[in-house]
């Protein structure tokens, strides 16, 4: 298989398809008013029986029209999917996360979704959202500004439910001022333009806010509204001791998924009909879903989602291989591709190879704040990192660990990103042990008789690398790195430890060399969450400058003050936060990329390693090649609601 061919073709397809369809769905409704709406047979029966209002009354005044990827679908069938150990986000796009804004088919552009449009006013300091007229919650109650008001004034600013306000609405340390302009308009005013807000509203937080919004339902659990005696009775009945416990339970805080509370209204294509019980949860179509296809069929096409929470990754994968699922697309690993592919035909599914948000499979991070003074000095010398980067035989990593796939890549951004500069991606990625050795000699790290180098004080140059347990491929890459570095005389002491242990190591600044999956490197996350490129978030997995991050997050109160390029990259990030102009944002982003490759704070291994996606053989309207990752909340950019099973049911469905 030719990687280059497929990549180029892939980009072409995804970009052209994206541009075309985005234009259609992006706020340019077809003549929706003239449309005759129709619905799934199950719903039609309910309407006929008088249990449900007619479809035209359930839809908003101007329903969102979704142009299907390939063909108009047919109703029926069930998505069968699986997650493990309650890690929720894998399933987000099965439910359809429906953030307030969303990411387009091109995996980059921000589009309207729940909100019909948005704009900046007041010199950029005010952000205005316009909502859709006549949109309804899944129980038929109207959705509107009053729901935002409930969230803002009774959840976000309620000190019991939210002891501190969400940072997404804080700029320069000041919380926004919220205003409900009218029934369909809300706005926030900040002390400076909040340029990343559209990005955030199309991402995780944007998909979470609606859970706290159905005020008509939630008021009964909130002391601001509920009768105290009634509320106490409800708390006692549910076995809780305080009202916030009950409230959080009713909002289904668990992983942001609607697993438990069937009564909580939502705005998603599906709503829970059977709560999580013995690891299985079922969601049925939402009769009030607000999207239709160009022929006026109310979406989603598919009837039901059946999700199994497996107790472990191995058994989930065994269940895939046994043909028990028809839609699994995150937390699959390319290293397991042979397993999925071998059983595809018998299991009535196919395996597609998509891309992730990883600019490299791993980022290798030498701690620039290392406690060991000697090591710190070495790690802060860019020659050392260049030498380390050139000592890595990336082709071997690709061949041995990734079945021959993968292109040498530094930790930058994924192909197709507007921030990407090709030259930066490949700089210092050529395998050259002689050059690496020369750089190390240059630094005075001379090799002894056994080929191993010593530090200036004569002690052995031994660096400890902590790898998190259970990340597919990481242990093997660690083993190869140990071998490659030994080749140039550097002893890498590789330890495999629990994830929580690594957390503790970072918090205590005990990391010497860290390694992590270099994800979140896409247009939909990098601008607001550049975890690798900028040390700003001490609570994440950046391990090259943990004390710089502490310094940034604490406003200079603790941690280590950065100098030079590190200080500059933090300033650039600050600038990005308040810059609305797109061209200027790209410039800033690329400057951050340049500083990164100049300093090699992160060293990447191989990028563009595909991720397998398992889909039922007659599952339609999903792209042949696409992107999936947390960056797109799974892959909600591909509109699960317009997918369908040809023939109305998965061919592998259990009888």
């Amino acid at each position: 298989m030719s990687r280059k061919m497929s990549r180029r073709k892939f980009l072409k397809i995804s970009l052209s398809a994206g541009a075309g369809i985005a234009a259609l769905s992006n706020g340019v409704p077809l003549a929706a008013q003239d449309m005759m709406y129709s619905e799934a047979p199950e719903l039609a029966e309910l309407v006929a029986a008088g249990d449900l209002p007619p479809v035209a009354d359930r839809l908003p005044a101007n329903p969102v029209v979704i142009e299907p990827l390939d063909s108009i679908g047919e109703y029926g069938g069930a998505i069968r999917t699986g997650i493990f150990q309650n890690r929720g986000f894998q399933a987000r796009s099965a439910w359809g996360p429906e953030p307030i804004l969303r990411i387009g088919w091109d995996s980059s552009t921000i589009e309207p979704n729940i909100a019909e449009s948005w704009e900046y006013a007041n010199g950029g300091n005010t952000f205005v959202l316009h909502l859709r007229e006549g949109m309804k919650w899944s129980d038929g109650e109207p959705f509107g500004s009053h729901d935002f008001d409930f969230y803002w004034n009774h959840v976000l600013t309620n000190s019991t439910l939210s002891p501190s306000p969400r940072s997404e609405f804080v700029i320069n340390g000041e919380l926004a001022e919220f205003e409900m302009v009218d029934d369909l308009t809300v706005q926030w005013t900040f002390v400076a333009p909040h340029a990343n807000l559209p990005g955030l509203l199309s991402h995780w937080i944007g998909s979470q806010l609606p859970r706290w919004m159905p005020r008509h339902y939630l008021e009964q659990f909130h002391p601001d509204f509920a009768d105290a005696a009634e509320l106490d009775a409800k708390i006692a009945e549910a076995g809780f001791s305080t009202w916030d416990e009950l409230f959080n339970n009713r909002v289904a805080v668990q992983y942001g998924l609607h697993f438990d509370n069937v009564d909580l209204p939502n705005l998603l294509p599906f709503k829970t009909s059977r709560p999580m019980e013995l690891n299985i949860v079922v969601a049925d179509r939402n009769p009030y879903y607000w999207k239709v296809d160009p022929e006026g069929h109310q979406l989603p096409y598919i009837n039901q989602v059946i999700l199994t929470n497996y107790e472990g990754a191995d058994v989930r994968d065994a269940a895939i291989a046994a043909g028990e699922m028809n839609w699994v697309n995150t937390d699959l690993t390319f290293t397991n591709f042979p397993l999925y592919q071998e059983n595809a035909e018998a299991g009535n599914y196919e395996v597609r190879l998509w891309q992730t948000s990883r600019s490299a499979e791993h980022t290798i991070m030498f701690n620039h704040n290392a406690k060991d003074e000697g090591l710190r000095e070495i790690f802060n010398d860019v020659r050392f990192k260049q030498a380390m980067s050139m000592a890595i035989d990336r082709q071997t990593i690709a061949n041995v660990v990734y079945q021959g796939f993968g292109a040498p890549s530094q930790v930058q951004v994924i192909p197709g990103s507007k921030f990407r500069v090709e030259e930066y991606v490949t700089r210092h990625t050529e395998y050259d042990t002689a050059a690496a050795g020369a750089l190390l000699d240059d630094m005075g790290l001379t090799a002894g008789d056994d080929g191993m180098r010593t530090r200036a004080d004569g002690s052995a140059l031994s660096i400890r690398m902590d790898i998190s347990i259970g990340q597919p491929g990481s242990e093997d890459v660690g083993e190869l790195l140990r071998e490659f570095l030994a080749e140039v005389g550097v002893d890498l002491d590789v330890r495999v430890v629990a994830r929580e242990q690594i957390r503790a190591l970072i918090d205590n600044n005990d990391i010497e060399c860290g390694i992590w999956i270099a994800d979140k490197c896409s247009d939909s996350m990098f601008p607001h969450t550049p975890v690798w490129h900028v040390p700003f978030l001490p609570t994440d997995w950046n391990q090259w400058g943990p004390q710089y991050a502490v310094h940034y997050a604490s406003g200079g109160e603790s941690g280590e003050a950065p100098m030079g390029d590190v200080a500059q990259v933090q300033q650039l990030f600050d600038q990005m936060k308040t810059t609305i102009d797109e061209a200027e944002r790209v410039n800033i982003g690329q400057e951050i990329m340049r500083l990164n490759v100049d300093n090699l704070w992160n060293i990447g291994d191989v990028g563009e390693v595909p991720i397998p996606v398992v889909l039922g053989t007659n599952f339609r309207n999903y792209p042949a090649q696409g992107f999936t990752s947390f960056d797109w909340l799974g892959n909600h950019q591909y509109h699960i609601e317009q997918c369908y099973f040809e023939g109305g049911e998965w061919v592998g469905a259990p009888s």
Binding site: Q254, A322, L537
Partner: protein, 338 residues
């Protein structure tokens, strides 16, 4: 040779039971403190675990983390957290699981019945198979069957449970079209309880029972066999034989009752051990039992869920030990209540 069985002094026994009961309360109190300490020993707390693993990609600021910590009461000193928990437990309120945002009682109620459905047959099977085989092996030492049982038993001991489980899953799904994971076939997964669903459960129960039971069976066979061999060599057996006692009566009258004592002295905590000890197998086989719930609660440092579950298992064990002691006294009347 054998002194006549000491008659049980009922008065003595009642006072023994009362004494043991009081001791149990003290033990449970100590256990509750130790459990609370042990859960907190690994680095970090629930919020760390939430941020590092469970949330799956979301990024958190320090403020959010502090807020979460306050929400869960994790910013309070240890003894305050403990007192809060234990007073609630004494009032019958086991608290709310941090990870699930559901009450602990609710979560346990969902999983306990299935857990018992697996562990009871397993424990029963272990004893039904292991004790007769152990006796047989001892009586026919170095016979062909003895070697066969030894060999199979040791294979059972030597393959890790979860590898065994994965292999059985593979064989089951490739050659028998068995349901890969869980206790129900897909068509019954969503069905309400019925007799057909119950039969389906029984049909799917064999893999977990075999996997969980194998190691225990092999171990019990070895212990039983060894003890029987010892007992059979005791001079009294020869004497009894010389007196013309039939072989079967001779064996069951005394050697079996003595040989079984190591088995009996552990029988009390077989159940709790199966419930918690099979966590890893349950993960591999995707059994919605209490084991994985406990393990995940520990990994996530979900204090109240883990604490309450440990307390519950401890209670089972303490009661089990007591039952065990009673059984021991029954099997070997020479042991007195002290």
């Amino acid at each position: 040779m054998i002194s006549p069985a000491l008659f049980l002094d009922w008065e003595c026994m009642t006072s023994y039971i009362i004494r043991r009961f009081l001791q149990m309360i003290v033990i449970m109190f100590i256990v509750s403190i130790v459990a609370f300490v042990v859960i907190q020993l690994p680095p970090g707390d629930f919020v760390d675990a939430y941020v590092t693993t469970i949330s799956g990609g979301e990024t958190f600021t320090q403020e959010t983390i502090d807020a979460l910590r306050a929400q869960f009461g994790l910013d309070e000193p240890f003894h305050v957290q403990y007192l809060k928990w234990i007073t609630n437990v004494l009032r019958g309120n086991y608290g709310v699981s941090f990870q699930h945002q559901r009450t602990v009682a609710d979560l346990l109620g969902e999983r306990l019945p299935l857990t018992l459905a697996i562990t009871f047959p397993t424990a029963l099977l272990v004893y039904l198979i292991a004790i007769p085989i152990g006796i047989y092996s001892a009586l026919n030492q170095y016979s062909f069957l003895d070697y066969v049982f030894s060999f199979i038993g040791f294979i059972g001991l030597a393959i890790p449970n979860f590898l065994f489980a994965i292999i059985l899953l593979y064989i089951g799904s490739q050659y028998f079209d068995a349901n890969v994971a869980g206790l129900f076939s897909p068509e019954y997964e969503l069905a309400p309880w019925s007799f057909a669903k119950f039969l389906d459960l029984l049909a799917n129960l064999w893999i977990p029972v075999i996997v969980v039971g194998t190691a225990g069976t092999a171990g019990t066979i070895r212990v039983m066999r060894g003890m029987m061999l010892d007992e059979m060599r005791q001079p009294y057996v020869e004497t009894a034989r010389a007196k013309g006692l039939s072989e079967a009566r001779l064996i069951f009258k005394y050697p079996v009752r003595v040989a079984i004592s190591p088995v009996l002295s552990t029988i009390g905590f077989v159940l709790p051990a199966l419930i918690s000890g099979t966590a890893i197998v349950a993960i591999v086989l995707n059994l919605p039992t209490t084991g994985p719930l406990l393990l995940n609660a520990l990994l996530a440092q979900d204090m109240l869920l883990a604490g309450s579950m440990i307390l519950f298992l401890s209670l089972l064990t303490v009661v089990g030990t007591f039952v065990s002691d009673m059984l021991l006294a029954w099997a070997d009347p020479r042991i007195q209540f002290e």
